[in-house]
């Protein structure tokens, strides 16, 4: 009974470690790309390397042969071994290395590099690897840790922007906004026309109706007032070298300055209007 219960509770599952070796990476030359050499198996790790080549050289010359792999991110070498043949006759060398299970994603391009005089022939570089068939438990229903995929019912997604009523309301609001903006533009155009007309008027210096008669009379009274003599008599003598003489005794109003002020005001208004226009265009 207990055995039956156990067998029901523990479904058959297995995880297998697969070991293998690559083909000769140096078949087509002394440079190779690891993605073309290693199987594209998830969780694959390189645990060894065997290389062999024949060094062809003069015993008197110097020669160093590097068998190497860069890191995939280019930060140096994940594996590099140097064979120094300097002063030695050429021969065939075969070397093997045990590696501490380095993930395939770490391995960058590999190469055999010759430094000095000589060459390399009949090169062979073979990597040994291992991987767990259940590295990704979801890859196989028989893997331990495999979880049945729960089917999620398809739920209709309500998009309010697709609702005809909402769309109608949005269009109505857009129309109202557009009308308001059109009205605002019309108001500004009219204001602009008035400002231009004012500028044209100010450009004519002989238009007396633009000067306030009361203010003009007050200014005239102020300028024509005669000061008592005690304002300028009885001053104790010192040295008064400069004497300001105002010929004619009448200071006329500066119509150009007034026009200038109004023109600056007009420019300011134009600038504000243009800012408003551009901000309206951006919000659109």
């Amino acid at each position: 009974m207990a055995l039956l219960a156990f067998s029901l509770c523990s479904p058959y599952s297995y995880s297998e470690e697969v070991y293998g070796t690559t083909n000769n990476a140096a078949t087509f030359g002394l440079n190779w790309v690891m993605t073309n050499i290693l199987p594209s198996q998830a969780g694959l790790e390189v645990n060894g390397l065997v290389y062999q080549y024949t060094a062809v050289k003069d015993p008197e010359t110097g020669m160093i042969v590097y068998v190497q792999n860069e890191y995939a991110d280019g930060s140096g070498y994940i594996f590099r071994n140097a064979d120094d043949w300097t002063g030695l006759p050429g021969n065939t060398i075969r070397r093997k290395f045990a590696l501490p299970n380095l993930g395939a994603e770490l391995w960058g391009p590999g190469s055999i590099e010759v430094e000095g005089e000589g060459s390399v022939e009949n090169a062979s570089v073979v990597y040994s690897y291992r991987y767990d068939t259940c590295f990704d438990p979801q890859s196989d229903p028989n893997c331990p840790g495999y979880e049945e995929q729960v089917e999620v019912p398809e739920i209709a997604i309500y998009d309010p922007l697709q609702d005809p009523l909402v769309q109608e309301d949005l269009e109505r609001k857009a129309r109202i906004q557009e009308e308001e903006e059109e009205q605002e533009r019309q108001r500004r155009r009219e204001q602009w026309a008035v400002s231009n007309a004012l500028e044209d008027l100010l450009a004519d210096g002989n238009n007396p109706s633009l000067i306030d008669p009361v203010a003009e009379a007050m200014a005239l009274a102020l300028t024509s007032r005669v000061l008592p003599t005690n304002y300028y008599n009885g001053l104790e003598g010192r040295e008064y070298f400069d004497t300001v003489v105002l010929e004619g005794g009448d200071i006329a109003d500066n119509a150009k300055a007034r026009r200038s002020n109004l023109a600056q005001q007009l420019l300011h208004q134009q600038m504000v209007d243009s800012q408003y226009e551009s901000s309206q265009q951006e919000t659109k």
Binding site: D84, L88, P89, N91, I93, R94, R95
Partner: protein, 164 residues
């Protein structure tokens, strides 16, 4: 309690004990010889047996794994007679050679240069730890271009690792 303990202690002292223990040591060889490739004689001519690959032969390869440098020398003898063969009534002329075919360290590259040859023996100082592959060639010529009798011929390459 005290009275009981004391007589027991006295009796132990009076009896005495003698014990012996062994010290065991095992020495594993630091030089291993492995026959990697068995040789095959080709028969390019009726009077000749040879391991030359160009003549249909296969050169035997012997690997020496030396774990400690400078403690051993390798002595390899190429054949100078058949261990098994049909009855031969004429002279067999033997030639042969031994050379390093592969190595696990570049410092073994001058093994061939420094080897000592005498008779059919080739003696190498194993001065570098690692693996060395030796390739042996052997040729047997029968008589004065006399045909070998039909049958199976076997010759033996002897490889030794001698402690220094």
């Amino acid at each position: 309690m005290l009275k009981v303990v004391i007589p027991m202690a006295a009796s132990i002292l009076a009896t005495g004990v003698v014990a012996q223990t062994e010290i065991v040591g095992n020495v594993d060889s630091k030089c291993i010889i492995i026959s990697e490739t068995p040789g095959v004689y080709g028969n390019p001519n009726p009077y000749q047996l040879t391991t030359a690959p160009t003549n249909g032969g296969v050169q035997p390869i012997i690997r020496y794994d030396v774990l400690a440098a400078d403690y051993y020398k390798a002595v390899i003898e190429h054949p100078i007679d058949f261990s098994t063969s049909p009855t031969l009534d004429d002279v067999v002329t033997w030639t042969g050679d031994v050379e390093v075919s592969e190595m696990s360290d570049t410092n073994m590259a001058d093994y061939d240069t420094n080897k000592v040859e005498y008779d059919n023996a080739h003696e190498y100082e194993m001065s570098v730890a690692g693996s060395t592959w030796f390739k042996i060639s052997s040729t047997a010529d029968y008589g004065y271009t006399k045909s070998f009798p039909a049958g199976q011929y076997t010759a033996v390459v002897q490889a030794e690792c001698i402690p220094l």
